[in-house]
């Protein structure tokens, strides 16, 4: 015969276990919600229906070192820098397809594209004299009035895993420059960053420290390639 106080103690313990189980379950759910909320990449703004439009991609071919401009029908954002980023993302995505003529590993390639009006001038603090009246040490980047400098910020993983070689890296750079030139007439110059920092080369060969003039790379490569 079990004493009464032991039965009461047993049921109290059983209730405590049940209560602790419920608290633990709730804690797990809350932690899961918190993690899911951080990973949620759905757009905050309501999607806007955008019509497809024709864009020009400067596509590279490793077999003969040529670049050919091809047309694609895609929907792009309205905002200019977002358009440039989406366009370059599409360009790199085409290279990750099977049987690509210029194979590149799939994955995020372009982090951001910044468009700056030329000529570049150092920023001035409110109340200070205009920069051009001061002996500023900040170098000015020349360029035509109305032109723009595009700064393409690449992902470090993209650069690290890019095929290494003069031809492969040069074609990727020229493909990006050519695509920007074909679709954004105001862009006159292109510079590259990797993870927000200047980097000597893409992956050991193509120089990323220079400013590339936006030009029709397709015509040039097509004429020179044999």
């Amino acid at each position: 015969m079990i004493p009464r106080y032991q039965r009461i103690f047993f049921w109290i313990l059983a209730g405590a276990i049940l209560l602790m189980g419920l608290v633990l379950l709730r804690g797990c759910e809350q932690a899961r919600e918190k993690l899911t909320r951080h990973r949620d990449e759905t757009p905050l703004a309501a999607p806007v229906a955008t019509a497809s439009e024709t864009v020009h991609l400067a596509m590279a071919d490793d077999s003969d070192g040529s670049i050919t401009v091809v047309d694609r029908e895609i929907a792009l954002p309205v905002e200019t820098t977002a358009r440039a980023r989406a366009l370059l993302a599409r360009l790199i995505a085409e290279y990750s397809y099977k049987n690509s003529a210029h194979p590149i590993e799939s994955g995020p390639a372009v982090d951001d594209v910044f468009l700056l009006d030329l000529p570049l001038r150092p920023a001035t603090a409110p109340g200070s004299k205009p920069a051009d009246q001061e002996q500023s040490a900040v170098p000015q980047v020349s360029g035509g009035q109305g032109g723009q400098l595009a700064v393409v910020n690449l992902h470090g993983t993209f650069a690290d895993h890019h095929p290494s070689g003069i031809e492969a890296e040069t074609l990727t750079v020229e493909s990006i420059v050519g695509t920007l030139y074909e679709n954004f007439p105001r862009i006159e110059q292109v510079r590259f960053l990797v993870d927000g920092q200047p980097r000597d080369t893409l992956n050991g060969h193509a120089d990323l420290m220079r400013t590339y003039p936006a030009a029709n790379t397709a015509t040039r490569s097509g004429q020179e390639a044999r």
Partner: protein
């Protein structure tokens, strides 16, 4: 009387010596300036070729297969090319002869080449993508006739920016690339010719090309790897023949020399 004459002679000699020393000290800087103000000599050493096997040390370059690094392939190519060029009567200087732990930097490689006034500078690379041999020249354009890219000083000396050193040799480099691609094409090797933003090409003051060896695609679908000795020798033989022809056409031997 004799003593005073001796004293006067010694005094005159001392004054003359001091005067000559002062004149020499004042004249020396002017001589130095006038010498350095001369435009750089364009005379080339017609029998000298500079080879730059790319990468080295901790910089392995591209991975070309299982345990095969680009730095080793470029070094092997340089060794083969050195032998072929020496047999053709060239003197060869390489920016690196072994895989040392502390290879020269890009700028040091250009400095080594620029001090030699070589008839040609070849930067050797290798890759796992593409097919055949890729021949690249600098992406810099040639200076125009007036040399507007440079600013001349009153003394006539025209400084050349380090980043644009190759611009003065752009046309010659194009001719060299054309000759190399022609010789490689004659050996039934696929060739891609173009311009590339690759250092140290822009810093070289000599006719300069970058030669990149890629796997050779065979019609049956197979490929010959860049490590294949026969393939490397075929490329090297074509390059040596092209360089010999290019030297004879562009830098003919002085009269009376064989």
């Amino acid at each position: 009387m004799n003593t005073s004459r001796k004293f006067a002679a010694v005094l005159l000699a001392t004054l003359a010596g001091v005067g000559a020393a002062v004149y020499a000290m004042r004249a020396q800087p002017q001589n130095q300036i006038s010498q350095s103000a001369q435009p750089p000599s364009l005379a080339m050493n017609r029998n000298l070729v500079v080879l730059d096997p790319a990468h080295g040390g901790p910089d392995g370059g591209a991975v070309l297969g299982d345990h095969v690094l680009e730095k080793d392939v470029t070094l092997a190519m340089a060794a083969r090319l050195r032998a072929a060029l020496t047999a053709a009567g060239f003197t060869v200087i390489a920016t690196r002869d072994a895989d040392a732990g502390d290879p020269p930097t890009i700028n040091q490689r250009a400095e080594i080449a620029n001090r030699t006034h070589a008839v040609a500078c070849l930067v050797l690379h290798a890759t796992a993508t593409g097919s055949g041999v890729h021949v690249y020249t600098s992406a810099l354009q040639a200076f125009d006739a007036g040399g507007t890219a440079s600013v001349s000083s009153p003394s006539g000396f025209v400084p050349v920016p380090w980043e644009m050193a190759q611009a003065g040799y752009a046309d010659e480099s194009q001719h060299l690339a054309s000759d190399l691609s022609g010789a490689l094409g004659s050996s039934s090797l696929p060739v891609v010719v173009g311009r590339a933003p690759v250092l140290p090409l822009d810093n070289l003051m000599c006719p300069a090309v970058a030669v990149e060896l890629a796997p050779l695609a065979i019609s049956s679908g197979a490929t010959t790897p860049v490590t294949d000795a026969d393939y490397q020798q075929r490329v090297v033989a074509s390059m040596a023949a092209a360089l010999k022809s290019w030297r004879d056409d562009n830098a003919p031997a002085p009269r009376g020399t064989p």
